[in-house]
Symmetry: C2
Subunit: 361 residues, 2 copies
């Protein structure tokens, strides 16, 4: 597959498309619209911003002129005169983007419906210098609102570095009580979710439940806490935590270690991708799921029902969480208008085929 790729670039087209640094001279401005409609620019501005006290006649004349000229207001000019951009900057780590694109989608959907633009700042390192550079680039005095996805250290570092004066909302881990007090925030209660999943496994008859943890923004993630709490209240032994990253590969490595341990008959995985790797390691070791070992994931990604076997997992509503992020931010940016607050769906345990009673011995 050697000559298989091409970055094609047609020079004529490029020149036709752009090249000049300034906006195209022919572009109509608000004055052109005003002139055509026979009103002042001020009135055009009022129509643009759907100011109520404009007579129907002039409104229509203005609207007509706008369509006639295909006029589009300059965002830069608006932002400058208003002092704040009507946009939302989403800051999230690249891993979070990979794992939960639905979160970005949810924010975009809500923001768009309210007429806000979405800007994205991907964080690819938790190092303060890298995060500071991102903040420097993304935050200026006209920045609208910021949503920080602070599920991991990248996000938390960014959250803490947002300059004062910029409206900010955070999506946090349930275990992050510190930031919950400091920032308007939205949370997916995965502590309860982990607790429920663990209880379910215990209820099936497993002596204990092992846990493969994904990285957390806090010393002990909400999932780990819920898992521990369930074991403790059942007076079950608390096995050593197995750590992984977010990837199937790291799940595979964790799974190998667990497959070698005959006491591991039930495994709660930090996410579905990790569970995929764990399932594979178990298969390689000749341990059958769910007969020998039960496995539970987190997220309910689209592929989960088609794992081998179909994965029992905790469904997390990332789309709804995205909606909530914006709903919380909206009133800080735009005092007028109704601000319906949607609510993320509660995490729910989806039972499929990777869980069963342990074999009698």
């Amino acid at each position: 597959l050697t000559p298989a790729t091409a970055a094609h670039h047609d020079p004529d087209v490029t020149d036709a498309q752009g090249g000049s640094w300034r906006a195209v001279p022919g572009t109509p401005g608000i004055r052109d619209v005003a002139r055509l409609a026979g009103v002042s620019p001020m009135t055009v501005s009022r129509v643009l911003n759907s100011y109520p006290k404009v007579s129907e006649t002039t409104r229509h004349r203005v609207l007509h002129a706008i369509r006639e000229l295909d006029y589009r207001p300059s965002r830069a000019a608006r932002d400058l005169s208003r002092g704040r951009s009507r946009s939302v900057t989403v800051m999230m780590s690249s891993t979070t983007l990979d794992v939960t694109p639905a979160l970005l989608r949810g924010i975009d959907e809500s923001a768009r419906a309210a007429g806000f633009h979405v800007e994205i700042g991907i964080l690819d390192s938790p190092r303060p210098t890298a995060v500071d550079a991102a903040i420097d680039r993304l935050c200026d005095p006209t920045t609208g609102g910021v949503v920080v996805i602070a599920f991991d250290r990248e996000g938390r570092t960014a959250l803490h570095a947002i300059p004062p004066g910029i409206p900010v909302v955070a999506a946090l881990e349930a275990s992050n009580h510190t930031d919950r007090r400091r920032y308007p925030s939205v949370v997916l209660d995965d502590r309860i979710a982990a607790l429920t999943a663990t209880r379910y496994l215990l209820g099936l008859g497993h002596r204990t439940v092992h846990h493969v943890a994904i990285p957390s923004s806090t010393t002990s993630s909400a999932r780990v806490q819920g898992w521990r709490a369930a074991l403790r209240s059942a007076a079950a032994e608390i096995p050593e935590l197995v750590t992984a990253s977010w990837s199937p590969r790291s799940g595979h490595e964790a799974g190998r270690r667990l497959a070698a341990d005959p006491r591991a008959t039930a495994i709660l995985c930090g996410n579905d991708n990790v569970a995929l790797g764990v399932l594979h390691a178990l298969r390689e070791a000749g341990r059958t799921v769910p007969d020998d070992v039960s496995v539970v994931g987190f997220d309910d990604i689209p592929g989960a029902p088609f794992f081998a076997p179909p994965l029992t997992t905790v469904r997390l509503d990332y789309l709804g969480l995205g909606h909530d992020c914006f709903a919380l931010l909206h009133p800080m940016l735009d005092a007028t208008g109704p601000h319906p607050v949607p609510r993320v769906a509660a995490p729910s345990l989806i039972i499929r085929d990777t869980t069963a009673r342990p074999l009698d011995r």
Copy 2:
């Protein structure tokens, strides 16, 4: 899991964070920096834009004042006076975002390195009205550059609706020759990739290869064309195309139909997620992979090596493609400076465990 979720919002914090519509009054401007450094605003501007002819002494004084005041230039003011924003707007369908977040990451990485902001416009419908609304929202006279991911109909519709005068680059399907002529574009040559994968299966001894196609922006996708070309040149029978969307679920449905067909001994799937569903359908039908049926995917997603069995697939370099998108756009926005053009890696066939010679009968 009932009380499992919470949209928490601490009112005091909100008030402290924002609420006022205009930028915080205390924010320093370029004049404050100028005054502190004892120079004119013009000179500050020169330092900000790393204009070469500034004496080292004054440059340092200015830099010092900037740090002293924690000055951040107003983006809106810059964009307005320059006439163009230093930003890239990425337009892509929500499905594309879900399937290839790496593409967005690649664009972000390159854009960021060049000091550009990334804005995202997610398209969730191919209907012209929906796409037009997106364009209206995203394109104004100061819009910097636009990257349209036009792998599907959503993207193509958007591409065609970009107003003239806005620099635009497209990521296209290899089968989309029309747009390739009209727009500067980047392509992943999946025609060759599909051809190679099909030939590989044929070379294993399969009489023919079935194909589960994902939606395309064109009447016949590059993957379908490559697949057909390989069959034709081998004088193999060309089976009816099976269509699916991008999801594992749709792959599962397609797989059910194929599982019922004993002549289907080799299946080329439009992407890895679809392959996951197909594998599951085959398993349910009691057909073993790769003994009874060989399966090949497209993308090489992180989970592919952990499917059951590990998936043979065509690796596609979406991250590199993202880099190339920006590299192509960059010179249209910024005439100065070097513009290294990276190149996407060629698609490559990754052979794992879902492919084998057909069983003798």
